[in-house]
């Protein structure tokens, strides 16, 4: 009894929850950095995730057509990262920078507009229909299956999930190194801490803003590619669907706190998946259709109970 509980729970709820949490975490890092450093909620962030995944797929498809073998998504994601950072720079220069000194609501509205523009452009370029990102059934990792099988357990974790979890760990470690040990990383924390003081300290805030787009853009593309790897397809609404849980993750962790965003992402991802586990009786506790409601509820409760988030971030 306990065993069947354990394996079903781990294989179909816990691991997928962590995987989803990793994707939210990577997206929420960019959101929380933008929030902390540029002081606005960037609604276009999800679209950058989505576009990054589309560009990655295109590079894979192109190499497949030209050479007969498609690049691995993680390799194809690298040029995609550069392209999306460029997109962030252009968007910032022409649509966000003019509002730098204006009331925040203007740049928030600008980002809302960019969200619609980017999604429409993707729909024009790639069409509105779903695209298969990776074909076939994701097989569980045979090594883990045999290893746990020999111990009378049945842990089934597909390789794609190892890729996502491992990739997230590496990215978060790189981010930690950047923010703790590099000059630009410390300056990012300084601007997030107090933009006014950063200005009179002589820190070049525009350089820090560019660094923010680079870090946020790279994490967003990673999140988009991981999401596409997980669901094995591309949709033009996939970024937008992630937006609410990512904001919830950023708020839960504390605005402007990248580690908070990571923790918040994991909590929201787990909460969403675990909410449909049959905790009582045989039926799912919550119908999976309500998953996004879980993130929303957590966000609202957090805003009421502790608006500064777990890591004591900024409150507005």
């Amino acid at each position: 009894m306990w065993e069947s509980f354990g394996f079903e729970f781990v294989n179909f709820y816990f691991v997928p929850g962590i995987v989803l949490g990793c994707i939210y975490a990577l997206g929420a890092i960019g959101i929380t950095l933008t929030f902390g450093i540029l002081r606005f909620a960037n609604f276009a962030h999800g679209e950058v995730m989505m576009t990054g995944a589309y560009v990655t797929w295109t590079i894979m498809a192109l190499t497949g057509a030209l050479f007969g073998w498609a690049l691995h998504p993680l390799i194809a994601a690298i040029p995609s990262v550069f392209l999306m950072i460029l997109v962030f720079f252009v968007v910032d220069r022409f649509f966000y920078k003019p509002f730098r000194k204006a009331p925040t609501i203007k740049v928030v509205m600008a980002s809302f507009g960019m969200m619609l523009v980017i999604r429409s452009l993707v729909q024009i370029l790639w069409g509105p229909n779903q695209i298969t990102f990776v074909k076939g059934i994701a097989k569980p990792n045979s090594f883990i299956r045999e290893l746990t099988g020999s111990m009378d357990m049945m842990i089934l974790v597909p390789n794609k999930h190892f890729l996502i979890m491992g990739g997230t760990v590496v990215i978060v470690m790189l981010l930690g190194y950047l923010l703790t040990y590099t000059r630009i990383g410390k300056a990012m924390r300084a601007v997030s801490d107090s933009p006014d003081l950063a200005l009179v300290t002589g820190i070049d805030v525009e350089v820090v803003i560019r660094a923010t787009w680079i870090v946020g853009g790279a994490c967003a593309v990673a999140a988009g590619v991981f999401l596409a790897t997980d669901i094995q397809m591309l949709e033009t609404t996939m970024g937008f669907r992630m937006l609410l849980p990512m904001f919830a993750a950023a708020i839960l962790g504390g605005i402007g706190k990248p580690y908070g965003a990571v923790l918040g992402g994991l909590v929201i991802g787990l909460a969403e998946e675990l909410s449909s586990y049959p905790w009582i009786g045989d039926a799912p506790l919550l119908s999976p259709g309500y998953k996004s409601g879980v993130a929303f509820s957590i966000m609202i409760v957090m805003l009421i109970v502790r608006p500064s988030g777990i890591f004591k971030g900024r409150t507005f």
Partner: protein, 240 residues
């Protein structure tokens, strides 16, 4: 042109926030090696004068000269590069950064000699050396003020601007801050200080300016102003 060798000179500055004009033609000079104090009642425009130097507000008339060069309307981050270091009255440290990280940020515009300067600062402020890994936000008010001053001194400042460095501090720390200000000054850095605490400020200043309602009211050496009956009556708490 009058190049009487001033480090910093404000010539007939008229400035304010948006529409409202706060300074109506201020004149002020800092000579090399001096400590100059600006005192005056609340709302006299003391802090505004400092913000005008930094390019934080609209200067409608007049000019700011640093070593004889016009720096009027230079954006704040460029002002630092030109050699003006500033310690704001409040929110003057990055609370989430460690003490050492704060100092490193202070050295942002510096390209070399950072470890040496860091060491000098820890010699000048020995308390900070022990607390270098602590978040600046976890320190007491007086220690934060030390961090803020050390942070401002990480560059080779031509002049240091201090906005009410002792506001809200206990008398013990106030004395310590003023003696540190004199130490910094004796190492050759001219200092312009805005203070509520007029007596102590004039006590350690070479010269002082009294601002009232955005205009110069009195000026003189620290001692002259301290001895002036009118100044004493208005700002030094009753006078004799």
């Amino acid at each position: 042109m009058n190049t009487d060798n001033f480090t910093l000179e404000l010539k007939n500055i008229t400035a304010g926030y948006g529409e409202s004009e706060i300074l109506h033609g201020i004149n002020l000079k800092v000579k090399p090696g001096e400590i100059v104090a600006i005192i005056g009642p609340n709302g006299a425009g003391k802090s505004t004068a400092i913000k005008a130097i930094l390019g934080l507000l609209n200067i409608t008339k007049g000019s700011v000269l640093l070593d004889g060069n016009d720096i009027t309307d230079t954006p704040p981050d460029r002002v630092v590069t030109k050699g003006i270091s500033y310690v704001p009255q409040t929110h003057n440290v990055f609370v989430n950064l460690s003490v050492q990280e704060n100092l490193e940020m202070g050295a942002w515009t510096r390209t070399d000699g950072i470890p040496e300067r860091l060491d000098e600062m820890f010699t000048l402020f020995p308390d900070l050396r022990e607390k270098r890994r602590q978040a600046a936000g976890s320190l007491s008010g007086g220690q934060r003020q030390m961090v803020a001053m050390a942070k401002a001194l990480m560059v080779d400042a031509k002049v240091l601007l201090l906005d009410e460095p002792t506001a809200g501090l206990s008398p013990k720390y106030r004395g310590e801050i003023f003696s540190t200000i004199q130490d910094i000054n004796s190492s050759g850095v001219p200092i312009l200080i805005v203070e509520q605490n007029a007596k102590q400020a004039l006590g350690c200043a070479n010269r002082g300016y009294v601002l009232v309602e955005g205009t110069n009211r009195y000026e003189g050496t620290g001692k002259e102003l301290l001895d002036d009956r009118e100044v004493a009556r208005m700002f030094l708490g009753g006078g004799e």
